[in-house]
Each structure stands twice: as structure tokens, then as C-alpha cells.
Amino acid sequence: MKRFTLFLALFIIWLLLVYNRPYDTVAFKQNLFIGFIVSLFIGIYLGDLIPERVYKFYSPVRIFNFLIYLPVFFWYVILANLDVAYRVLHPRLPIRPGIVKVKTKIKSDTGRVALANSITLTPGTLSVDMVGDTIFVHWIYVRSEDVEEATKIIVKRFERYLMKIFD
């Protein structure tokens, strides 16, 4: 299953890279053939790198939840950029930076990586390191140094979506 997933992902990316019309040229068929062989080999030999329980990616409910998450995520990305624009263009630089500690309830590694990446791209926060279920977050305007409070502000807005996708 793991090997098949890696093969499929690589082959789809390859197909998108060499996509060109018309389809029935010799060059396109050669591309297709080489891509198939290479992704098959990489899939067989490096399939172990893919996370355990990869069958989750084929669940329609999770894919649906992911599609719900995308607009929420993009909304926060745009908010983050307006926030940065405000802080950068303000004459007195309204920043109050610091590194705070937050906890997450997400269990799976992939989910935690997704959470850390989401935290980095959203308003005023940058994940510096993750130790177990603790994420250290650099915050450009610290509103609370308390772990509970910071978790409520930074993590909660993504956690419930990501838990439905990855846990």
C-alpha cells in the first residue's frame, strides 16, 4: 500500500510535468514510459519513507474535510499578510516579539507537520521547533505568555479541522 501510494504520487506529478498537447507524439509516449519505470522503481525501493497508515489518504471523508480546510487556510494566509503589511508600514513598528510554548492534541506526525506549517503561514506566528506535543512558536505580538492562553489563540483555530483530516 505504501509503495503503491508513493508510485501513484510520483507518477501523477510526472504526468503533470510532462503534460503537453497533442498526446500521440513519440516524445510524449517516451516520457510516459520512462516516468512509469522510474516511479515504479522509486516506489518499490523507497516506499518505506511514506508514513504508516497511509490508507487514510484514500478516505473520502478526510478528502472532503481537507477541501473544507483549504478556504479557511487561505483566508488566514491573506489575513496574515495584511497583518504583516500593517506592522511593517506602521511608522512605530507595533511589535512585541517572543517565543511561546503551545500544546497540541493531534496524535499523528503528518498532522503535526501540517499544523506547524499552518501556524507558520498564519497571522504573526512562526513555529520554531516541535518536541513531542509541544510546539515553540515565535509570536510577533505576544498577547499571552501562558501556555493555555497561547494554545487557545494560536492552535485552536486549526486543530479541529486538522484533527478531522489526519487523526
Binding site: L17, V84, L93, N117, L121, E145
Partner: protein, 108 residues
């Protein structure tokens, strides 16, 4: 019409990239600068790529722009995390007016 839309999208993208660069100059320390540059450059590049996609339509160029967009969205935050973590481990100090550093306390 399609050209117009794509030029507007690319213009927004360049504007966000510019904001990121201003942040890079104005903010005081490495971590704050990483914040500004990562966020603004990611969204700016996404806008430019969507502009390219709208301009060229659904062909070889447009699909490559779409792929670039997805990879940037995954790799930019990861790279920012690696830079911040590496800088902290090798002893880069936070700005002197920073309010707290829980990471430093944890390391002791």
C-alpha cells in the same frame, strides 16, 4: 480581459513581495524578519503563479505554475522552521525588547 485579470493578479503578487522585502529591512531581528519574508513572499509568489495560470490557460505552462504553487506552499514554511531552529540552536539572540523566550528556558 483574461490578460487584464492576470496582470492584476501578478501586480498584487509583486506588491506583497515588496512588502516582504520592506519587512526584511525594517524589522529588528532574524525571527521577525523570517516572519515577514516567509508570509509575504509565499502569498506573493502564489498570486504571481495564479496570474501565470490565468494568462497561459490550461496548458503545459499553466500546469507547471500550479505545481510550483503547491511545492512553494509546502516548502516555504518548512524552510522557515529549519532556519529559525538552526539560528536558535547556534545562539542567535532575540531582539532586546522581546518579552519572553520559552525555548531558551526549555533548553537549560
Amino acid at each position: 480581459m483574461r490578460e487584464m485579470i492576470s496582470f492584476i493578479l501578478m501586480g498584487i503578487g509583486v506588491a506583497f513581495n515588496l512588502l516582504g522585502c520592506i519587512g526584511l529591512i525594517r524589522l529588528p531581528d532574524l525571527y521577525n524578519r523570517l516572519q515577514a519574508s516567509t508570509k509575504c513572499v509565499t502569498l506573493g509568489t502564489i498570486f504571481i503563479m495564479v496570474g501565470v495560470l490565468v494568462y497561459s490557460g490550461w496548458n503545459a505552462i499553466g500546469i507547471k505554475a500550479l505545481l510550483t504553487l503547491v511545492f512553494i506552499l509546502i516548502t516555504a514554511p518548512t524552510a522557515a522552521h529549519a532556519l529559525a531552529r538552526g539560528a536558535h540552536k547556534s545562539g542567535v539572540k532575540l531582539w532586546k525588547k522581546s518579552v519572553c523566550d520559552k525555548y531558551e528556558e526549555e533548553k537549560k
